[in-house]
């Protein structure tokens, strides 16, 4: 399987090069993806927690409009 590519643009000369990542770059990139996934997971859990809290408020009689006014 071909490694993901990296595009290098020399801003001073305008020269562009696109090539597969080397081993070191791929390692960093994979870690970036893991970090991004962790971040997305955390955001998802945060959103779920928020939804759960909103559900509880709805159960108490608040409307969706109330929640929008309250939580923005």
């Amino acid at each position: 399987m071909t490694n993901p590519t990296i595009k290098i643009v020399n801003v001073s000369t305008g020269q562009e090069t696109e090539r597969p990542m080397n081993a070191n770059e791929l390692s960093v990139y994979n870690q970036d993806q893991l970090n991004a996934e962790s971040k997305r997971q955390a955001e998802s859990e945060k959103a779920e927690a928020r939804s759960a809290a909103e559900a509880k408020l709805l159960a108490l009689g608040l409307t969706t409009e109330d929640l929008k006014a309250l939580l923005g």
Binding site: I6, K7, I8, V11, Y29, D32, N35, A47
Partner: protein, 310 residues
């Protein structure tokens, strides 16, 4: 008075002599008094010459009036900006070109006229595109704008997984990066764009989306600069400012503002989300390289425009 043509053999009565000869000749008098005495009942058109005033006068039916009409102009004097003039005969006035700016001062379209002395002018040819009228060494001149300009350094189509903008000139005050129409290839869910500087993937980064004072923990290897964006929409736009990027004495940061489509709306609907965030880099090195990382597998189009700002 009438006019009569005499023929040979015609009788010449006194009335004809008076009407057709005496009354129609120029009668010379010493003065008007003598004329009044001699001609108590003049006829219209009678012409006299008065020696005391050297003037010709004609009877108009009620009075003798002058006929020479010499006018009352006795001299034509050249005023400011003029030359010539005279007191008799044909008189010519000319414009003194030394007193005025003439059309031959300019020679080329868009020329300007500027003073090069207390009372002399010269042409100033048009400058180059985008130049402004300035003062150089005390003289008016076209010159490059000294501030407020943006220079497009690079235009890059977003393909691949990482974009490295390298060898950034260090001659500007700030960098401005515009990311427009960006999309990710897969998966078909929301993905963000991260940034780091100088290819440095160590834990020197911190990002925030709020404006409160916080204890920055530089524990990340990059920071998010363009938040989640749907893969199916390509109308996102992000503007990123990296101020004072070339200094070597302060930590650096990137300030981002943008709009993108994110279907992870908390109310379950797809909508456009405004984003405002900042990423911080715990390093005093000058920024010579900007790295854009797709948090998806690949970029799927879009454009990154890097400007140098003065």
């Amino acid at each position: 008075m009438a006019y009569k043509t005499f023929a040979n053999g015609f009788p010449l009565p006194a009335s004809d002599l008076n009407n057709f000869l005496m009354n129609q000749s120029v009668i010379v008098f010493a003065d008007s008094a003598a004329r009044g005495t001699a001609i108590p009942s003049p006829v219209q058109g009678m012409l006299t010459y008065l020696e005391d005033t050297s003037s010709y006068e004609s009877w108009n039916g009620s009075a003798f009036v002058g006929i020479s009409n010499p006018g009352d102009i006795t001299a034509v004097t050249a005023g400011t900006g003029l030359t010539g003039g005279g007191t008799e005969g044909d008189v010519t006035l000319s414009v003194d070109t030394a007193q005025f700016i003439t059309s031959d001062t300019v020679t080329t379209s868009q020329d300007l006229i500027v003073a090069d002395g207390a009372s002399s002018v010269t042409r100033l040819g048009v400058g180059a595109d985008d130049q402004v009228l300035s003062v150089v060494a005390g003289a008016v001149a076209w010159a490059d704008a000294g501030g407020g300009s943006m220079t497009l350094l690079s235009t890059t189509t977003l393909t691949g997984s990482i974009i490295n903008l390298t060898s950034i000139p260090q001659t500007y005050k700030d960098l401005r990066l515009i990311i427009r129409n960006y999309k990710h290839l897969t998966p078909a869910s929301n993905r963000a764009v991260s940034m780091r500087f100088n290819g440095d993937s160590t834990t020197k980064y911190y990002s925030t989306t709020n404006n409160t004072f916080v204890n920055a923990e530089f524990s990340s290897t990059s920071f998010t600069i363009a938040p989640n964006h749907l893969t199916s929409i390509s109308q996102g736009l992000v503007s990123i400012l990296i101020p004072d990027y070339a200094n070597t004495t302060t930590v650096k940061f990137a300030d981002s503002i943008g709009i993108q489509n994110n279907n992870e709306n908390e109310y379950g609907s797809t909508n456009w989300n405004y984003s405002r965030s900042a990423g911080f880099y715990e390093e005093a090195d000058a920024i010579t390289e900007v790295n854009l990382i797709s948090e998806s597998l690949d970029f799927d189009g879009g454009t990154a425009l890097l400007y140098g700002v003065n």
